[in-house]
């Protein structure tokens, strides 16, 4: 080395010496402290939403001279929430995967119209008419998914186009007419009830399943090295939800339609429960659901982990389409006719339900439980304000303000957490 001698050369020990070990090596689950209680932040969010729902219910209950939480009104409220709720479950999966679907309102109109037209104009039976409605939903969902995933057109654009186009299709097809539902059994889907005794039986099954999974999970915690839960915690985890289930069924069963005749769980509510359970299972306990969260949370990491983004996005739009079909059938059956302007603005209710329920529009975050709570909050506001004879324009202003406030609170909470 023929280095010149006059240059300033500073030798130093290897770089290793001045790097201190990071102090933040042992991290903990994000928690929030309330008094002496440590609650995981995600859990806190769920409790906050539940609390907000209870407050809304109590306020309306006393503001309406205790009509709001009467069995009759509660049963109606749940039935009203069912259409938005079913759509919210599908929308949740779409949003978690980092997509959006603006077309579901129009799709509900078209799918419901299709089912009504089949039975009304072509004399199809019950099952084929219902199948037609759902098939329309699935096919259109598949189209949206293909355009988004394979042709790289943003979902916002594809479904905004769908919002306009599918409404146009049903207006043209039905010639603007309302088609009454005549086929036997169709209206029952929207208007009838599950017999009270069946409701109690289901409550029994639900409580047993709840107890079994909770105890099993408690035992598993020990195996994951988390320390088994205390018996008291396990007991509370079973007893509190069990009481909610029993109270719910009791409320539904004590609605007296005619003297001595009790209603039971409305069929739309029963369908919503089934869809929500299936949705929760799909998102939490299947590879499909887990991949949706990964795709929405970090598409690059998901792709490099061998997940096919395209197939999953296509599938999630198909599911959304199928659930739009289900929602369309409930709505058509409840109203008793297929109307070309059915379902207008339902997409916004579904998106709002997800967002109020803590779903991030950026993708990767949200739960079915939250989306259902969001749908219940939306439906409760509608129902409560209508009972109080609040002008429709005021209702819109209130709902808009609550949507923005809910997200504002959530963001503030996240910054602190």
């Amino acid at each position: 080395m023929n280095d010149s001698a006059n240059e300033p050369v500073v030798e130093r020990p290897p770089v290793v010496a001045d790097v201190a070990p990071s102090p933040a090596d042992a991290e903990v689950v994000k928690q929030t402290r309330i008094g002496g209680l440590k609650i995981p932040t995600d859990g806190l969010r769920a409790y906050t939403m539940l609390g907000a729902l209870l407050v809304i219910w109590l306020v309306f209950h006393y503001a309406t001279d205790q009509i709001f939480l009467s069995p009759r009104n509660f049963s109606n409220l749940m039935r009203q929430a069912s259409v938005t709720g079913v759509l919210a479950v599908g929308m949740l999966m779409v949003i978690v995967a980092g997509q959006i679907d603006l077309s579901v309102g129009s799709l509900v109109g078209l799918a419901g119209g299709a089912a009504a037209i089949m039975q009304g104009w072509y004399g199809w039976g019950l099952a084929p008419s219902l199948a037609a409605g759902i098939a329309v939903g699935v096919c259109i969902g598949a189209l949206h998914g293909t355009l988004t995933a394979y042709l790289n057109i943003p979902a916002f654009i594809v479904t905004l186009g769908g919002l306009l186009a599918w409404r146009g299709v049903i207006l043209g097809w039905s010639k603007g007419e309302t088609i009454p539902i005549g086929v036997a059994g169709f209206k029952m889907i929207g208007q009838d009830y599950v017999a009270p005794v069946v409701g109690w039986a289901l409550a029994g099954v639900a409580v047993a399943a709840l107890a079994w999974t909770t105890i099993r999970r408690g035992q598993a915690r020990g195996r994951y090295g988390l320390g088994a839960s205390k018996p008291l915690t396990t007991a509370l985890r079973i007893i509190i939800p069990a009481l909610v289930i029993i109270a719910f069924v009791w409320m539904m069963n004590s609605y007296e339609i005619a003297p001595g005749r009790f209603a039971g769980i409305p069929i739309p509510v029963f369908i919503l429960l089934a869809v929500a359970l299936a949705g929760a299972f799909l998102t939490q306990n299947t590879t499909f659901g887990r991949y949706l969260y990964a795709i929405g949370g970090n598409p690059d990491a998901a792709r490099l982990s061998g997940i096919s983004l395209r197939k999953h996005i296509l599938a999630v739009f198909c599911l959304m389409g199928a659930l739009s079909g289900v929602a369309a059938i409930i709505l058509t059956a409840r109203v008793g006719s297929g109307s070309p302007d059915a379902g207008v603005l339902l997409e916004l209710d579904a998106i709002a339900a997800c967002v109020i329920g803590g779903t991030s529009l950026m993708g990767g975050r949200g739960t079915v439980f939250g989306a259902i709570l969001g749908a219940l909050i939306m439906a409760s506001l509608d129902n409560g304000m209508s009972l109080k004879n609040v002008e429709p324009y005021t209702q819109q202003i209130v709902k808009g303000a609550i949507l923005v406030a809910a997200v504002g609170l959530d963001m503030a909470g996240r910054r602190r957490g």
Binding site: P14, P21, A220, G225, T287, A301
Partner: protein, 513 residues
């Protein structure tokens, strides 16, 4: 003609800058005269970019130690705008042009000539034309930037800097994306600027260019100045010796790996740049890795190391050609899914961008790639998953409360271990590691090194890419060197010295027997 007074125009005195856990700059002094091209060279992570970010106001006064003096007056920049107003223009590798706007709009962005708040477009384009003519650039200022090649965009950046009367121009790897002809144009412009008295700081890994254009060369290493001298006093050899001249500490347990049969081979892999037509990011590279062998790939930033791995893994956006053989069998890998299917694993660089879903738990991240193998094809088996996760967490010593801790809350070292676990849970036969220890503390680094040696001893074939030369030399059984996409050297563990590897990384070619 040449305004080249000997008094320093800019002085940076005793600059110190620390990041949590790392001292990036440790008493660096640097000076620049008018009309001088002063080259700043050093390995990745030596502190060049940090120093320039301090000069450019990215790290404002108060966040670093030492002082910046221009024409004898101490400067305390509060931000980028402040530094720009003083006449400092920094052109970073990542260009900061708005692609949808025209050349003229970009040049005057935020400083458009106005009358009563209304932009005077004629005036703007007249001045832009003047500027471009001054640089002898034949570009219509009304063309949108997106239609220009990267090279011309770079020159537009320079025009933008000059429109702000820059007296100090910092160029960070300006030729990385340029063709030969564009490099000539750039150098001609730099010569022009030299006669106009503009002081230029030129950062480059390409020593040949540095020796052509620079008046003086300063070498940084590990956050310190290790040499400043006139270019004619240096040779490429002495510069390289200064760049690498550090002892390899004993943090690398020297382990001779028991090498088995060839596990993985690539033949004639080339990758085209998806953004620049005709440019090859990887050019005709072939190599083999045996079971139990650690193959290191060295090279400087932009040499195409990550592009090579991404392409082989089926994840590169650019057009890829070449053959891949796994245990002697030719395979077609079109997506990461195929790659995983054939037993490849890839601990990617930039764990936050490519490796982790930060909102999700450690467990969900660990099982992301191997979920279907671990836990059933459709319905997941939480028990099987959690026990595999808990086992991996113990084995790799991930420090966290439980497998249900959210990955985003972990320290860098623990996040890196989670990414490693993700790939180990796919049971790979070949593992790619791209910058596996970047930005993590020394304790965690050593643990990762120990894991690499353990995995090799268990018969895994490992390909290790790292910008830290000691790491590559300390862990690898064989070292390949890439320079501008081409293989320029191959060394056995015994042959590889920091100097010989760095020589190949800066463009010299060597072939092992």
């Amino acid at each position: 003609m040449t305004i080249n007074d000997r008094a320093p125009f800019l002085e940076m005195r005793d600059i110190t800058k620390s990041f949590p856990g790392v001292r990036a700059l440790d008493g660096v002094s640097f000076e620049l005269r008018r009309g001088e091209v002063h080259a700043l060279v050093g390995e990745n992570g030596a502190g060049k970019s940090t120093l320039m970010k301090i000069l450019g106001g990215v790290y404002p006064h108060g966040t670093y130690g030492g002082e910046i003096v221009i024409e004898g007056v101490e400067q305390k920049f509060t931000g980028v705008r402040d530094a720009e107003a003083t006449g400092i223009a920094v052109i970073f590798q990542e260009l900061s042009l708005v692609k949808e706007m025209t050349v003229g709009e970009n040049i005057f962005l935020g400083r458009e000539p106005r009358r009563f708040g209304v932009v005077r477009w004629d005036e703007l384009y007249r001045r832009a034309t003047e500027l471009l003519e001054g640089l002898r650039l034949r570009v219509d200022p009304r063309t949108p930037v997106r239609t220009l090649g990267i090279g011309q965009q770079q020159l537009v950046e320079i025009a933008k800097a000059l429109s702000q009367d820059a007296r100090i121009l910092v160029l960070d790897e300006p030729t990385a994306a340029l063709t030969g002809a564009e490099v000539e144009t750039l150098f001609r412009i730099l010569e022009d600027l030299r006669t106009r008295g503009v002081g230029m700081i030129y950062i480059s890994h390409k020593l040949e260019e540095v020796f052509r254009i620079a008046d003086r060369i300063t070498v940084l290493r590990d956050g310190r100045t290790v040499g400043t001298n006139a270019t004619k006093e240096w040779t490429e050899g002495t510069v390289i010796a200064r760049m690498v001249g550090r002892e390899v500490g004993d943090i690398f347990p020297t382990v001779e790996h028991e090498r088995g049969e060839v596990a993985f081979e690539v033949r004639n892999v080339s990758v085209e740049d998806p953004n620049v037509a005709g440019k090859r990011l990887v050019d005709n590279v072939s190599f083999k890795v045996r079971r139990g062998e650690v193959l290191g790939i060295a090279g400087l930033m932009g040499a195409g190391r990550s592009d090579l791995l991404m392409a082989v893994f089926g994840a590169h956006a650019g057009r890829t050609s070449g053959e891949i053989l796994i245990e002697g069998r030719r395979v077609a890998i079109k997506s990461p899914r195929d790659a995983i299917h054939y037993g490849l694993g890839f601990v990617t660089e930039d764990r936050k961008r490519f490796g982790l879903v930060l909102d999700q738990t450690i467990l969900n991240n660990m099982t992301l790639a191997g979920l279907k193998k671990l836990s059933g094809r459709f319905v997941t088996d939480t028990d099987a998953e959690a026990s595999a996760g808990a086992h991996a967490m113990k084995e790799l010593r991930v420090k966290a409360n439980s497998v249900f801790t959210v990955a985003g809350t972990l320290s860098g070292g623990n996040q890196q271990k989670v990414v490693l676990a993700k790939w180990l849970l796919t049971n790979p036969r070949v593992l790619f590691l791209d910058e596996p220890t970047r930005g993590i503390d020394v304790g965690a680094k050593q643990e990762i090194y120990a894991q690499i040696n353990r995995l090799a001893s268990e018969g895994l074939a490992i390909v290790l890419v790292s910008s830290e030369l000691p790491e590559v030399l300390g862990l690898s059984d064989r070292v390949l060197v890439l320079h501008e996409g081409k293989l320029t050297g191959e060394f056995t563990r015994a042959e590889a010295t920091p100097e010989s590897v760095m020589a190949c990384a800066t463009g010299h070619t060597r072939r092992a027997a």
